[in-house]
Structures are given as structure tokens and as C-alpha cells.
């Protein structure tokens, strides 16, 4: 139910993101999903890749502050109201969403999300039989 996401500390500095992406590209790391969040002082790049362990090792070897975080990957129909219905279940269970990003593939939406309580979130997924995707399936999409 959980998949590995790489988080990278990004200085607010011209060319920094390009530099990191180029590094990954050169080593044949394919990026499946990505998001960048920023504050005034720094940003965090979050990516799902085809080989998280390799990518993380690679970044660290190149002196980039990075780590692996496990996040949830839930599948919904790409239709009006589906996100709302899913999130209502988490809200009802007292779970907060720390961050979320999503992408759509063939009428399906894949939600990558991190909550403040992983165990409770997994329980919600099991109890309501929410569709999710494994890391292996995600990589082979």
C-alpha cells in the first residue's frame, strides 16, 4: 500500500533543480511523478522514480540532501467527486493530509499522499476497500 518517495532539499538557487534532474537522467532514473514545494528560503522536491533506492544512493553520493519517505498511493476514478469522497473518509477517521499530489492515467487518478498517521490511514484504506497501487505496478504503468 505504501511506496517509496524521494525527498530532496532544494536551495532557492538558480539552476539547482536542473542540476538534480540532470544527475538522475544521466543515470537512467525515470521520474514517474514529481512535485516541488517552496518556502521563501528553500524548497523540497518530491519524486517517485523507477528505482528509488538507486536514486537515493546516487543523490547522497553526489552530496545532495535526500531521503526516502513512504507515502500512500491510492487509485480513484478520474471523475467529479471522487477525490472528495476519498478524502471525506480520511477526515472522518480524524486523519490530516500533510501533502498530496496526483496524476491521471487512462481514466484513473493516482493520488500520492502523506498523512499525519500512517497506521490509521492504512486502516481506512483496508476498511473501505480503497483501490491502491503497489510500487511495482506503478513503475510498470
Amino acid at each position: 500500500m505504501t511506496i517509496n518517495q524521494i525527498s530532496v532539499f532544494l536551495e532557492n538557487k538558480y539552476g539547482k533543480l536542473s542540476e538534480i534532474l540532470a544527475l538522475l537522467g544521466k543515470e537512467n532514473i525515470r521520474i514517474i511523478a514529481a512535485t516541488v514545494a517552496d518556502t521563501s528560503e528553500f524548497g523540497i522536491l518530491r519524486i517517485i522514480v523507477n528505482d528509488a533506492n538507486k536514486a537515493c544512493r546516487l543523490l547522497k553520493e553526489n552530496n545532495v540532501n535526500a531521503n526516502l519517505t513512504d507515502v500512500l498511493a491510492i487509485i480513484t476514478e478520474s471523475a467529479a467527486g471522487t477525490f472528495a469522497a476519498t478524502f471525506a473518509l480520511f477526515t472522518k477517521a480524524g486523519i490530516s493530509i500533510e501533502y498530496m499530489y496526483c496524476f491521471s492515467v487512462r481514466e484513473k487518478s493516482i493520488l500520492i499522499l502523506r498523512t499525519n498517521n500512517k497506521e490509521s490511514a492504512l486502516e481506512v484504506i483496508r476498511r473501505h476497500n480503497l483501490e491502491y497501487i503497489t510500487e511495482n505496478d506503478l513503475i510498470n504503468l
Binding site: 539547482k16 528560503e41 523540497i44 545532495v64 531521503n67
Partner: protein, 432 residues
């Protein structure tokens, strides 16, 4: 031309040097009463009888800030504590602070020294003098207070901060003179203009004493224009009492250092040999009229030179050039002395941080700002709030230590210049 003490201020060099020699001998005799100098003089074989001319000063050992720290708090006291009436201590918490002791006679002499400076720049007993220095351990507070009272000014001990209150005092009380740090002078002027007060038109300010912070000639002129005043550079340091050590006269060309109070030397900080007038070196001062805690050849670490030639004002006491920096890594920001090691000690307490950091000091909107960039260690978190509260926590601890609030920027590992050999931790971009 008017002088506070004409005879002393315009004394011939010969007479002044003779006076210095006799006071130096008295000082050395008194200094032996302190545990510290008793030991040092015995070790170095210093005898007062060996001092026959001012050149013999070079036979004496130097005193450093570390000596003051190592002999904290009373190791340099030359008279019994019952005869001391005040002490001032530095604020740092890194290692031992320094302590300077004063007898009643010392305080009287210090007040006279400050009064002499103030009189020199045209401040009179008809003036209303507002002191914006912090009171307490910071010598700019009480030092100017007693000097201004000695001179007979109506003094307003406003102390530091709260610009609106300062402005209210200036306008309500008809303040004519200020003692203020240069960056705060520009700040105060800005607040006045923002409040619709034109200091040139709506206040009676005419003379201000600016010091405790390095500043450029351009900054002085700016302050003079903004406030419609004459601004005079003053130099002091807590080890040498505080304010009043050296002060500009109306010529605004160098700071007269009162040679009946201190013997001034400029040395090459590497070879420790004296340098000629006009050559920049480290200022070394010997107190010659202090009884509680005289200091012999104290290495101030401030870099300056003696201006050659005589001053048009008629005073014979030597003039120091505007200060050029430090021979150690101490930074002076908003009147506060900061050593990079203080910052390093705080940063190194955080496991989330790496060991590479860079301190940048620059002038932003006429105010000195400190930016500390520090690399993260491997312990990286995905969580923003963790990074933000980490930043906040570090800044909080730095503020407690430094007494000023720096800006902190977390940067990625390897993004600061790699330090080879002697690490360059400080970039001072202020124009001096």
C-alpha cells in the same frame, strides 16, 4: 577656540610625554599589586626602574583579552575590592567574560574624559543630551550619562530601542544632542520622516555622537543630512572604561586620543613591532590614570593608524584614523561584539546541521544585517514544519547568545565553498 581643559588638551608634546612617563611609572608600581601583573612582571623581569623614557614601554609585556578572561573576575584588581565602586562586564557567554573594575576616582576621571570629548564637539551645559545606549553592563549607557552630567547637560537617559518613544522625548524635551549608534541614527531618522516629522525643522537636534559600530565617512554624511546635525565619531571600549577614549574634534579629521589617560602605540600584529605614523596596525593602549585596574599594553585588536601632522583645533593629543577593521575575527554589529566561535558553538549543537557555515554581514537599508548560511547534515527530513521549526530554534538560541537576531538560511550539503586551510567563515560586505 574653547577647551574643557585647555592646559592639558594643548600641552606641548614634550610636557605631555614627560607627564606620560611619570604616570606610567605610577601605573606600573600600582599594577604590581594585582595577582596577574605581579606574576607577569616577575616572570618577565619587569622593573619600574628600567622605565626611563617612553621608548622603554616596548620592554613591557602585552596584555590580551584572554588574560582578562583567564583572570576573571578579580585577578587584575590592583586595589582592595572594598575600594572599588563599580564593575562592568562583557556580555558574552562563550568562555569567561571580561571584567573591568573602577574606583570612585576612576569613575570621576572617566566622567571627565567623556565630558572633555563632548565639550570638544560643542556640547555645553545648556544642551539637552539624550543617550540612546543600553544602560547596565554596556558602558555606552553609564559612561555617557556621567560624562554629560559632569559637563552639566540636562540628560535624558532614554536607553536603547523604542523609536517612537525616543522621538517623543526628542520633540517634547527639546533634545539638542544624542549619543547613538550610526545604524540606529539612520533608522531613527527614517521613522521620524515616516511619522511626518522633519528632524531638521521639527527638532532642536544639532550635535550627535556616533560610535560603538564601524561606519564609513559616507554614512556619517548621510546621517548629518538626514538629521540636520553634525555627527562626531567616538571610540571607546569596555576594557578602556568605555566611551571617551578617543573622539573627533570639530575638524572631523581623526579622533584625538587622550594621552594623559592612555599611551597609544600602533604595532604590526604579526611582528608586534611598532609601525610609523600613517601606517595601519593594531592599536595598543596602556592606561596611565586608572587605579582599580590598570592595563599595560593592552592589545585592542582594532586596526587603525596615527594621523601624521598637527590638528588645526590646537589640541596636541594624537589623532587616530577611522577604524579599518580588526586583527582578529571579532565583528561589531549594532554595537555588539560578536566572535564567530560563538555562532559555531551554537550551530554545532544541532545534529541536523553539517559543519560548514558562512557568516555574511552587510548593510541593508542602512542597517547592519547578519546572514548565517549553514549546510544540512545527512539527517534530512521530508517535513517542512521540522525544517522551519529547526530554523526558528537555531535563531532563537543564536539570539540568546549574540543579543542580535541573525537571519538563518539552511543550505544543501556541499553548497558552501569548501574550506581549505584556514577557514573563511565571515564575509563582511559593509563599506568601511
Amino acid at each position: 577656540m574653547e577647551y574643557w581643559q585647555e592646559e592639558i588638551e594643548t600641552m606641548s608634546r614634550d610636557r605631555l610625554e614627560a607627564l606620560q612617563l611619570s604616570q606610567l611609572k605610577q601605573t606600573l608600581t600600582a599594577a604590581k599589586n594585582s595577582p596577574f601583573y605581579a606574576k607577569v612582571f616577575a616572570e618577565k623581569g619587569v622593573s619600574v626602574d628600567d622605565i626611563k623614557s617612553s621608548n622603554d614601554l616596548q620592554k613591557l609585556p602585552f596584555t590580551t583579552k584572554d588574560d582578562l578572561r583567564d583572570n576573571y573576575p578579580y585577578g587584575l584588581a590592583c586595589i582592595p575590592l572594598k575600594d572599588c565602586v563599580r564593575l562592568h562586564s562583557s556580555s558574552g557567554t562563550t568562555g569567561n567574560p571580561t571584567v573591568v573594575l573602577h574606583s570612585a576616582k576612576d569613575l570621576e576621571a572617566w566622567a571627565n574624559q567623556v565630558a572633555r570629548c563632548m565639550y570638544m564637539v560643542g556640547i555645553r551645559n545648556t544642551d539637552i543630551f539624550q543617550n540612546t545606549s543600553g544602560y547596565g553592563m554596556f558602558t555606552g549607557g553609564l559612561g555617557f550619562q556621567y560624562g554629560a552630567e559632569k559637563l552639566g547637560c540636562l540628560t535624558v537617559p532614554a536607553a536603547a530601542g523604542n523609536s517612537k518613544r525616543q522621538i517623543k522625548f526628542i520633540t517634547d524635551f527639546g533634545t539638542t544632542c544624542l549619543h547613538i549608534i550610526p545604524s540606529y541614527a539612520t533608522r531613527l531618522a527614517e521613522v521620524m520622516y515616516a511619522e511626518g516629522i522633519d528632524p531638521c525643522r521639527d527638532t532642536k537636534l544639532h550635535t550627535i555622537c556616533i560610535g560603538a559600530e564601524p561606519h564609513s565617512e559616507e554614512q556619517r554624511q548621510r546621517i548629518e543630512q538626514l538629521l540636520g546635525v553634525k555627527a562626531y565619531n567616538c571610540f571607546g571600549m569596555s576594557e578602556m572604561n568605555g566611551p571617551g577614549v578617543a573622539f573627533e574634534c570639530k575638524e572631523q579629521n581623526g579622533l584625538h586620543i587622550w594621552e594623559d589617560y592612555t599611551i597609544v602605540e600602533i604595532i604590526n600584529p604579526e611582528t608586534l613591532e611598532p609601525v610609523p605614523d600613517g601606517v595601519i596596525g593594531e592599536l595598543v593602549l596602556t592606561t596611565i590614570n586608572r587605579e582599580a585596574m590598570p592595563l599595560v599594553r593592552y592589545r585592542t585588536r582594532d586596526l587603525t593608524c596615527i594621523l601624521p601632522g598637527v590638528c588645526k583645533c590646537g589640541r596636541t593629543h594624537k589623532r587616530l584614523a577611522r577604524f579599518k577593521g580588526r586583527s582578529d575575527d571579532m565583528l561589531i554589529i549594532k554595537g555588539v561584539n560578536i566572535f564567530p566561535i560563538q555562532i559555531e558553538k551554537i550551530l554545532m549543537q544541532f545534529g541536523e546541521l553539517g559543519s560548514n557555515y558562512l557568516i555574511t554581514v552587510e548593510t541593508v537599508d542602512n542597517s547592519d544585517e547578519m546572514l548565517i548560511e549553514v549546510e544540512l547534515s545527512d539527517l534530512f527530513t521530508d517535513d517542512y514544519s521540522v525544517l522551519q521549526s529547526l530554523t526558528k530554534n537555531i535563531v532563537h538560541q543564536l539570539k540568546d547568545e549574540l543579543l542580535i537576531t541573525p537571519r538563518l538560511k539552511l543550505v544543501g550539503k556541499g553548497s558552501l565553498p569548501v574550506q581549505e586551510g584556514k577557514a573563511v567563515r565571515v564575509k563582511d560586505l559593509r563599506k568601511l
